[in-house]
Subunit: 761 residues, 2 copies
């Protein structure tokens, strides 16, 4: 215990010293955290919010075989699983932390010896181009990844700028060095996923092309330009498409041998070299959502040279700049957790436009982003809760651009809807709610978004009135969604009610009284699914009766998505006071929360429940999924803030560890990480679009938030330790704080908050 | 006979009167000619060289079923066969006269009653959306088509501007009027042909989208914008793709019912209306090779109103302008044949760029045409012979742009080749030779092309030196292509030799002596396949010996494509003098020609020979295919010009008739028609890139060529009649012409040539 205190003192003094200067925080980022099991993050190289996510893929299990879903694929959302023993190659696009997948485009693998164009199997890497590897020979840093490929004695190094991935392969001496470009590889792959591929060999160091897929993004095309540091001797391709009927006069050429115009559905290419011992062959691989031309322009704009170290240095400097937005001191493991969480929080959404501003819109036409940067990959059911609120503190410019990207999505939508879960010029409508409205309202209310607020409100209102989407019509008419018509009727009603409250807040801000009144009223709809008899949110039938055979534990057939009623029943983030009241008052409410956190769930529960493991759970509280992310903070409304404090600290310690299996659930594009960052600093946005943050219990010793407005907001703790989880006293700008929340303005105005900690409740 | 003479006199006087004024020549165009059996032209509406070819399709026979070729499809190259009794719908792209096919995009069909989304069968039209029709209720004009759809009592009318097709459907009174948009229809269709389709319902009168196919053009995308004159009440779609595995959260919507974001491989859409008796619903359907945005721009630029008659009038005026480039007088049927031939000659190549100049290049990137109009659909093995030479007389600006389009194709080609047979940003390398070089050389030598001639020569030379294409390497090394390595070794050698001569002529014009020498030498290679022992062009083995079991009649395995040795042995258009000599002198040569024209071929021959019928043949001379198109003129080189005269007139009468079955062979993108036009005027370009035209026997009474340089060249005949096929005397600009050729300059300088005809040899 003494040691810990000593360490804290030491850290605190360092903090004082370095407060205004940029620190090297990259060493505290461990991208390998969360790569084992459920985290679904990838260990490879990316720039902050980069279009390119260049990372090793450790298997190529298909999503479905002959129409049948393959349950093994879920774990490969990010392409990499820590327990695997081989690497198939390095692909350029990856989701970070999702529970569903797509991407994995343009897989590159260096090999030697006899050319093999199939990937082989995990059991026998020798049967294909994949290679065994060991974590002993693996380095994963922010913006840099390195691994030795044991089968070929090749060292692979990866780095990336925003739109260009850079590879550096150190070969042994051989006459038979190959670079394989697998254009049919993909994460969540299946027979009909690859729609079309086109490649043009421009010369012996440059190829361009595109790949079109029908996956989670239904109509998706990614263009590329691939540049080699050394001319290839020879190249070729093989088509693995056995369905093509008509081949025409293309047969006039041997298309497998140095033929520069390549097209088809399933293609793998190879490029042959002769190498000296330790010769490095480098690749620059640029992406574009728009055209080959733009990919080339991205390539020459971002990396006009062949200096791998320089790209790595620039990208790590870019990361450092981002990481320095919050300078903390904390125990070593906590500091690693904190900066790794920051790293994961600053990956998604990703830039989705070329260096010239061109991007492909939802309408599949090419647009130019005027005055903003266009972003994609909005996992909004996850990220509206905590990630976008985090951006309103430390990524205000980007968040404003993200809001603009959503408004443009709306403008381009022939459905006239804001994004639900969108990526690469498509929406896949995954999950519940229309949470763009929360992100937009929060960004306008907090002063982040400077664009046309009325237009943004119109987009929110139009989306929320989309009667034929997911029961919205019935929700409007009846105040709830009949269970007969929707498997997730309760989730939808609860999420909509919160979203409607966010719209109401925005309308209020913009003095749109009629909209305010309409949506404030809608925001009360959560009450319609609350069964006073049981004390739970329950599915209701069209006739107004609650559905029989209700089970508050089950996640199947009870009207919820990624959650059970035990977790979802607390989902009234916009009005906990009313929830406390309806649930029988503060005492009763706190007791119910206690039950949630302390219950013991059976093994049968886990066997039946998708997407939840014991790793991601405390009692019956599921941290691995999002619906309950605000729940630990609700004790504040029951006048038992010490329980919020102890639960938050418990979650911070149990759910986040500096190890490969350190994430108990999918990071969900940074949402889990954002929860960590806020909670570790001692406060949390329970209801985005509110300007209030609920007070929890800071984990850090200190934190300086370097705001984009030039001010700093400092968090200091006194008597901090793993046992001193209780907040005895709070001093804001030298005045005692007598409430359990702070406001956005209080942070943005700069200043200092001091938490005096204790081991007593 | 008297009647004919009287008619001639009457026409002659008219000619004199109207010489300088524009005539209404549209009534002489009968697009129905050639729609029965082999002509493979379509009867629908198109503007001159228009991007849109809007025409009825009378069947939907697939190219292949389960990987097996369906031999019935050959006749549907243009989508329409005169003998068919039903129309499936009206699609927007068609080849004109080809012997292979593709296209047939965006088929629209108006129906009434119960909605049917399958096309039904020819046997029972009631089983699908197709309709019976009768030629009695059909009108086909240049730029206009009309038909009554008997099953629905709907009158369909079509017209088109360059990039926009306009439909006008007159409905009966019904609550159940439908417009079907079949996005999976196509000519030469098969399972994997539709790669992807995307549609966006912008509002209740506008939809946009694109269709991507893998057909004769391997990687082809066509974008569209479709505008309705009346809002549809209701719309929907049905996917016929049974292979799609992953459908994701798109299932949240009923995509078949008013869902505005549509994508997939096999889609048919419908739009519902309520109509009054005789209510007209109109559609404007714009194409673009580049984007939906550009399609909309094309639509509003070209047809900013809903006046169908105005579009029809403008397009027919555009046709009239083109037709007036040659004003002839002739017997009624001949005049119809002539102007129908002119119409067919001015359809292909087609404009392939948007109204703003954007087009998709062979490299699949978007380019902007600077200072020229980009064209596509180059059926060069056919059209280099006569069609492009025709353009050098009466379409000089367009032909210059076509040459520029070819040069840009070369610039965009990663193979570094000029087009062989190209369409829609793809080459399919159909047929033999590299005849772009002939078109380019002819256009530069004749002063048509004003661009960078040296760059154009470089493109020719680079293409002709492409050693790994179609035996060119062996051709260069050995002077012939070994029969072991190519099924069309003799055709290739003969066509290459001519092409090389054309390159030599261009090099000479540009003072490139080394290239001239190299290619003049290569142009002698035809001699290497000539077997003096047999007197035929014969395939040669690698060891230099002629291949045994030679058959001069057969088209199979003898080294020829679309021809036998009897026809191809005369293929030395650039040096008939040497051919006459090698074949034993003028007398012997003429005798051999006589044999060709007078032989009787057995029924067994026709049964075995693809692409040739008795319709397309005179003796053993095959006019329906191209290799012998110059052969009738070769008698001039044997000092028997009267035989040229009588054969030419015989071909003009026998091979071209003003009836649906009036074309004896595929029109081949206007090549057959161009042969008619030249020959009917009395002269013919035996060797493009030569400035000389061989004299034949004019069929017309008179012709005025209105040259683009403002001058006119007049052809007059005296004593013209069907029997007076022999040219007794020729007077050029009042001086007797003592030779059997005229030169390009003599025409371009303007003036008058008078042919005095006789019935005596």
């Amino acid at each position: 215990m003494k040691l810990v205190v000593a360490a804290i003192i030491s850290f605190l003094s360092l903090t004082s010293f370095a407060q205004q200067t940029s620190k090297n925080l990259v060493p505290f980022v461990k991208p390998i955290i969360g790569t084992q099991r459920m985290g679904h993050v990838y260990p490879g190289a990316t720039a902050p919010f980069g279009m390119v996510q260049l990372s090793p893929d450790t298997d190529t299990i298909p999503y479905a075989v002959k129409g049948k879903y393959n349950p093994d694929v879920y774990k490969y959302c990010a392409g990499y699983q820590y327990d695997d023993k081989s690497i198939v190659g390095f692909s350029h696009t990856h989701f970070s932390g999702t529970g569903h997948s797509d991407l994995g485009d343009f897989l590159i693998m260096p090999t030697t010896g006899t050319l093999q164009l199939n990937p082989g199997t995990a059991d026998n890497t020798k049967k294909g181009f994949r290679s065994a590897f060991s974590h002993d020979n693996e380095t994963a840093q922010a913006g840099y990844y390195k691994v030795k490929l044991d089968d070929y004695n090749i060292t692979a190094e990866l780095t990336a700028s925003t739109r260009v991935g850079m590879h550096q392969y150190t070969f042994p001496k051989t006459d038979k060095a190959h670079l394989i470009l697998d254009l049919m590889a993909g994460i969540y792959n299946y027979d009909e996923k690859n729609v079309w591929t086109y490649v043009r060999v421009v010369n012996d160091t440059l190829i361009t092309g595109y790949k079109q897929t029908n996956g989670w993004a239904r109509t998706r095309t990614v263009y590329f330009a691939m540049s080699f540091s050394k001319p290839f001797k020879n190249y070729g391709q093989k088509s693995f498409d056995d369905k093509q009927v008509y081949r025409g006069f293309w047969r006039k050429f041997n298309q497998e041998d140095n033929f520069p115009e390549i097209a088809g559905k399933k293609i793998r290419m190879f490029f042959d070299f002769k190498t000296e011992e330790n010769e490095k062959i480098k690749i620059k691989f640029a992406l574009s959502p728009v055209s080959q031309k733009n990919a080339i322009q991205n390539l020459v704009t971002e990396i006009p040279h062949w200096d791998f170290e320089k790209v790595k240095k620039q990208t790590q400097e870019a990361w450092n700049k981002e990481l320095n937005k919050i300078q903390i001191e904390a125990a070593p493991d906590d500091k690693i957790n904190f900066y790794t969480a920051m790293y994961h929080a600053f990956i998604t959404p990703t830039v989705y436009q070329d260096s010239n501003g061109d991007y492909k819109g939802l309408d599949q036409d090419i647009h130019r982003a005027n005055g903003f940067t266009n972003y994609t990959t909005f996992s909004l059911w996850d990220t509206y809760r905590t990630l976008h609120p985090l951006f309103n503190l430390v990524q205000t410019q980007r968040n404003a651009d993200m809001v603009q990207s959503m408004v443009e999505h709306y403008n381009e939508s022939s459905l006239h809807m804001l994004p639900i879960w969108s990526h690469y010029a498509n929406d896949n409508w995954c999950m519940s709610g229309y949470h763009s409205v929360s992100v937009i309202a929060d960004a306008i209310i907090k002063g982040t978004y400077k664009g046309d607020a009325l237009k943004a409100l119109e987009a929110c209102v139009t989306t929320a009135r989309k009667r034929n989407y997911e029961g919205i019509g019935e929700y409007i008419d009846k105040g709830f969604i009949p269970a007969e018509n929707s498997g997730i009727s309760v989730s939808n009603t609860l999420e909509y009610a919160y979203d409607d409250w966010a719209i109401a807040q925005l309308a209020k801000k913009l003095n749109q009284q009629a909209i305010y009144t309409e949506f404030l009223q809608r925001s009360e709809n959560w009450k319609n699914n609350y069964n006073k008899a049981s004390g739970f949110m329950e599915p209701k039938l069209a006739n107004g009766e609650f559905k029989p055979n209700f089970d508050a534990y089950s996640t199947h057939g009870q009207g919820f998505i990624e959650g059970n009623s035990w977790n979802y029943s607390f989902f009234v983030p916009h009005n906990p006071t009313a929830l406390v009241e309806i649930m029988g008052g503060k005492k009763q409410f706190a007791k119910k929360l206690d039950t949630l956190f302390n219950m013991h769930l059976s093994d049968a529960f886990f066997a039946e429940t998708e997407d939840i493991t014991r790793d991601g759970i405390i009692g019956g509280y599921v941290h691995g999924n999002e619906p309950a992310h605000h729940v630990a903070y609700l004790y504040n409304w029951a006048d038992q803030p010490w329980k919020t404090q102890e639960k938050v600290r418990q979650i911070l310690k149990m759910q986040y560890k500096p190890t490969p299996d350190g994430l108990g659930g999918n990071d969900d594009c940074g949402q889990m990480s954002a929860w960590y960052l806020f909670s570790a600093m001692g406060f949390y946005p329970v209801a985005p679009a509110s300007e209030e943050y609920a007070i929890g219990s800071p984990l850090v010793n200190s934190a300086i938030i370097n705001l984009e407005n030039g001010k700093t907001f400092t968090i200091e703790t006194q008597n901090q330790s793993d046992k001193n989880v209780y907040v005895k006293r709070i001093v804001l700008n030298n005045k005692p704080l007598k409430r359990y929340f702070i406001t956005h303005d209080e942070i943005m105005n700069g200043g200092k908050i001091v938490f005096v900690m204790s081991d007593k409740k």
